[in-house]
């Protein structure tokens, strides 16, 4: 097992290397330069000033040299400084946005799995029943509805008309003066709408996946055997069928790991949440190469790790795979 793990880890290194090379060159292919935001059509910006900025950012060097400079820093775990006017270290910028994104995404992920798995299982068990049809329709509505529109409607209802929940942001004005309980409620109330909405949009995938897995498992011979043994339907479904149907979900869980740090730009913009999606979007628009590369690299590492974890999880739960 340990040798297997080591092998997998070693395999990741060239893959990661390749990902960074491709990312680095592709973002340079997009027209435009980081100096554009400062300089474009600003009558005060002379060509000399533009050159000064280009030199400052080392953009005058050939692209492979730029890549090597970047790589040299990254192996020392330093993503460099942002090209935006604040020029803060990339890691600081990512760090201050990471926690809120991870929090919202994990809450939503837990909520999705907690709701989607029971829905999928029960609608498989009651295949083609009215219940099956209604839940199917609901999760597809969740999937298909433009979330930014639904978000605005809910904000109008709960924020403006009923005044139950705040409209946007993470803290209310005067947060410092609240009691401990008040502070907790304040934070929670700001998260309710974004987390619920994000979960609503994600239900369809997992629940449909769960339903089809379950349907497949129910048709297996060993389920018939279990029924023939005279086990109660409850036991058949939750003990024998569910366990087997859950196996592929582990893969999904592993693949969701990189998603934890990727925020949705739409959500974050609408709810005014300073998360990773906004940071990535802004840095792309500003051609802020170090930040883009930082986020892509972290995303790549998490994707590779997620894949590996999924495999390990598989091996741990499924004896058939462990054997090989």
């Amino acid at each position: 097992m340990i040798t297997y793990l080591l092998k997998r880890l070693l395999e990741m290194i060239p893959t990661l290397f390749g990902i960074t090379i491709i990312s680095f060159f592709i973002i340079q292919l997009a027209p435009g330069k980081p100096t554009d935001v400062l300089a474009d059509l600003n009558p005060k910006m002379t060509p000399e000033a533009r050159e000064r900025l280009t030199k400052y950012y080392n953009l005058d060097k050939p692209i492979h040299v730029q890549y090597l400079m970047w790589l040299k820093r990254v192996v020392k775990l330093d993503f460099g400084d942002s090209f935006s006017t604040d020029r803060r270290p990339v890691w600081t910028k990512i760090k201050e946005r990471l926690s809120i994104t991870i929090l919202i995404n994990s809450l939503a992920l837990v909520l999705i799995f907690a709701i989607a798995i029971p829905i999928g299982v029960s609608s498989a068990v009651h295949q083609y029943s009215l219940y099956d049809k209604i839940t199917t329709m609901l999760v597809f509505i969740g999937f298909a509805i433009p979330t930014f529109w639904l978000a605005l409607l809910l904000m109008i209802l709960f924020g403006v008309n009923l005044h139950w929940l705040p409209v946007s942001g993470l803290k209310s004005l005067g947060y410092e003066n609240l009691s401990i309980m008040g502070k907790i409620w304040d934070s929670v109330s700001h998260l309710i709408l974004p987390v619920t909405l994000e979960a609503f949009g994600g239900l369809a995938g997992i629940s449909r996946y769960m339903r089809s897995n379950m349907l497949e498992v129910i048709r297996q011979d060993y389920i018939t055997t279990a029924r023939a043994k005279g086990l109660s339907e409850r036991k058949v479904i939750y003990k024998h069928a569910l366990r087997n149907a859950l196996l592929p979900v582990i893969t999904l869980l592993g693949l969701s790991i990189p998603g934890l740090i990727g925020g949705s730009v739409i959500f974050e913009n609408i709810f005014g949440i300073p998360g990773m999606g906004q940071l990535f979007y802004q840095s792309v628009m500003m051609r802020d190469y170090p930040v883009i590369m930082g986020i892509l690299t972290i995303g790549a590492i998490l994707t590779l790790l997620g894949n590996m974890l999924a495999d390990i999880g598989y091996a741990l739960t499924d004896p058939r795979i462990r054997a090989r």
């Binding site: 997009a30 435009g32 330069k33 554009d36 935001v37 400062l38 300089a39 474009d40 059509l41 600003n42 009558p43 005060k44 910006m45 002379t46 060509p47 000033a49 533009r50 000064r52 900025l53 400052y56 935006s84 006017t85 604040d86 020029r87 803060r88 201050e96 946005r97 930014f148 605005l152 904000m155 109008i156 924020g159 403006v160 005044h163 705040p166 409209v167 946007s168 942001g169 993470l170 803290k171 004005l173 005067g174 003066n177 990189p258 998603g259 990727g262 949705s264 730009v265 974050e268 913009n269 609408i270 005014g272 949440i273 300073p274 998360g275 906004q278 979007y281 628009m285 051609r287 995303g299």
Partner: protein
């Protein structure tokens, strides 16, 4: 993993980078009736009182609070509350002393001596002196400082500190926009920055200033909190706290306004005219309206071939190089329709590169009222006629189009000359709905006089790099944000046509060149006014751009704030220290 949409705030990036610090500074004439009415009720109430918090909503977050390093309007907005300059624009757009008590300009206009106010203190207690100005000047001209604003200061030949409170600069040539450049860009606390790398300085995130407000806290991605500076040299502001709250989505921001989360935001034209009329908003908020120093135009590429190095025009564009064609296009476009249709009336038609009712604006220039007949005449004069085989009208139009593809000249309602149809493409940038709608209206109006238009929308960075910089366009719709000084040398001078320079339509008129030079080389207001009036007149006649409209800013502020007195161009933030909330109406109490 990342979904992108909501490019609404791109809209701002286009106009604002250069309105930037100017917008917070200064002022002039036309305020509509609504705002005037608001004004009356506004000032006739309870006496001024200290206290309360003002929350302003913003789409973009500030990036760095050292003015010379910042390029965005959000940073400049906040920085201008914390750091003052030597001079500032007053409500009527004249320059008045800020940190400078007064100044002398030598007879020949080459030497400016500033006499600084005494006893002004940085909020950390150290006195502000001429050394701080000198330090700021040296930093901004330093090659290592990544700033976009060094150009104005490179014109300075010599800068000297005469004594603690006297600072003198000498120019190579008289330079009229110079005085206005001594704002807060070049004031830095020497005692905190000397010997340090300004880009790595803590001051970018925790500024120390001497302005109306004192920096308190910055929560990244959420808000910047400032508090009244008790030691402000003109007396502390009435308002206790000012919060600049980041809400990237304009629709959400409007909901926050209704829910009471913010007190002040800029409305879009549709919000201003259609959505902000509810009883609740009318009762609790006041809307304001004033023109901003900016204009939107359709630029026509006047040049077909250029010298690669200098950008000098070798061959004029056969269509747009002809003044009659440009004038015809101007007559064919109904500017009032554009203002009413896309700005909901919140703006005014532009006749040239200056904002109506400001001093360089010449009211008596050629105006092009909507007149399609005249447009057709001018086009006919220039040789544009709809020629070719006339097909019987009962033939399906597809038939005609097929013949056209096959190379036949068909009489199809589109003008022709020298075997080519008058068809061109207007480029504009993605995310700016107002500009895209403008393009569509122009498309329809020009079709009516026989010009076929295609509209193409491009992402900003691509647009600028691949099309504007490389001069690969026929027509563009863009806007200029302007300073409060009327010097537009970089836009109109024939020497500014190199790649990346701003005379990208290749306008070339020796008289305009001379007038631009004259306008920036004299401090005599009458002389300058004469020069700019004439420039306006020539540009209105020759139309290197089809000037379209000057937009209005349309902010809304909670009605409990009194003392707001907006003025054209300069806006309303200039007297924020005089805003107050009467004692009984205060909403937020600060307890510590």
């Amino acid at each position: 993993m990342y979904r992108t949409s909501h490019i609404a705030y791109r809209v701002l990036h286009i106009l604002l980078p250069f309105i930037t610090f100017l917008i917070t500074a200064a002022n002039c004439a036309k305020i509509d009736k609504e705002a005037n009415a608001a004004q009356l009720t506004n000032n006739s109430t309870a006496p001024a009182a200290y206290g309360d918090t003002l929350v302003e909503g913003t789409i973009g977050e500030p990036s760095v609070l050292i003015p010379m390093l910042a390029g965005d309007s959000a940073s400049q907005n906040v920085a201008s509350l914390v750091i003052n300059g030597l001079v500032k624009y007053d409500k009527d757009l004249t320059l008045v002393g800020d940190l400078a008590e007064s100044w002398d300009i030598s007879k020949n206009g080459l030497v400016i001596t500033f006499y600084l106010k005494k006893g002004v203190k940085w909020t950390d207690g150290v006195e502000f002196t001429a050394d701080d100005v000198m330090f700021g000047y040296k930093t901004i001209i330093n090659e290592k400082t990544p700033t976009a604003y060094s150009e104005d200061y490179k014109q300075v030949k010599k800068a000297e500190v005469i004594d603690r409170y006297t600072f003198r600069i000498t120019y190579e040539k008289p330079f009229a926009p110079a005085l206005g450049s001594w704002g807060n860009l070049i004031v830095l606390p020497k005692h905190l920055l000397e010997g340090k790398d300004i880009t790595k300085s803590e001051l970018g995130r925790h500024p120390i200033g001497m302005g109306r407000f004192k920096f308190l806290k910055w929560t990244p991605g959420q808000d910047v909190v400032l508090e009244a500076n008790p030691g402000y040299f003109e007396g502390r502001p009435y308002i206790d706290r000012y919060i600049y709250r980041v809400i990237p989505d304009p629709a959400t921001m409007f909901l926050e306004l209704k829910a009471g989360g913010i007190d002040w935001m800029g409305l879009t034209p549709i919000q201003y005219t259609r959505q902000a009329n509810t009883a609740y908003l009318e009762k609790n908020f006041k809307k304001y309206r004033y023109p901003v120093p900016a204009y939107t135009y359709m630029g026509l590429n006047l040049c077909l071939r250029r010298e690669t190095k200098t950008g000098k025009c070798i061959e004029k564009h056969p269509w747009f190089g002809d003044k009659r064609v440009r004038q015809a296009i101007a007559y064919a476009i109904d500017k009032h329709e554009i203002v009413d249709g896309v700005l909901f009336g919140l703006g005014s038609p532009a006749t040239g590169p200056y904002v109506p009712n400001t001093w360089p604006y010449n009211p008596n220039v050629k105006k092009y009222d909507y007149n399609p007949e005249k447009a057709k005449e001018l086009l006919a004069d220039a040789g544009w006629k709809d020629t070719g085989i006339e097909l019987p009208h009962w033939l399906p139009s597809l038939f005609g189009r097929m013949l056209k593809w096959a190379g036949w000249n068909i009489k199809d309602g589109v003008l022709d000359k020298d075997g080519r149809s008058f068809e061109f493409t207007i480029l504009t940038n993605q995310g700016n709905t107002v500009r895209i709608n403008t393009a569509v209206i122009i498309q329809r109006r020009l079709e009516a006089v026989g010009i076929k238009i295609n509209v193409r929308i491009l992402e900003w960075s691509t647009f600028i790099n691949e099309f504007i910089d490389k001069r690969r366009f026929e027509a563009v719709i863009l806007g200029w944000g302007l300073g409060l000084d009327p010097d537009q040398y970089d836009i109109w001078h024939s020497g500014k046509t190199k790649e990346k320079e701003f005379n990208f339509v290749s306008y070339n008129n020796p008289e305009v060149d001379a007038l631009l030079e004259k306008g920036r080389r004299t401090f005599d207001m009458e002389e300058r006014k004469k020069a700019y009036f004439r420039i306006h007149e020539i540009l209105a006649d020759e139309l290197p751009y089809i000037f379209l409209y000057v937009p209005d800013a349309t902010p809304i502020v909670h009605a409990r704030f009194k003392g707001i007195d907006p003025a054209p161009l300069i806006g309303m933030g200039y007297n924020i220290d005089k805003w107050y909330v009467p004692a009984g109406q205060q909403k937020h109490k600060i307890t510590q």
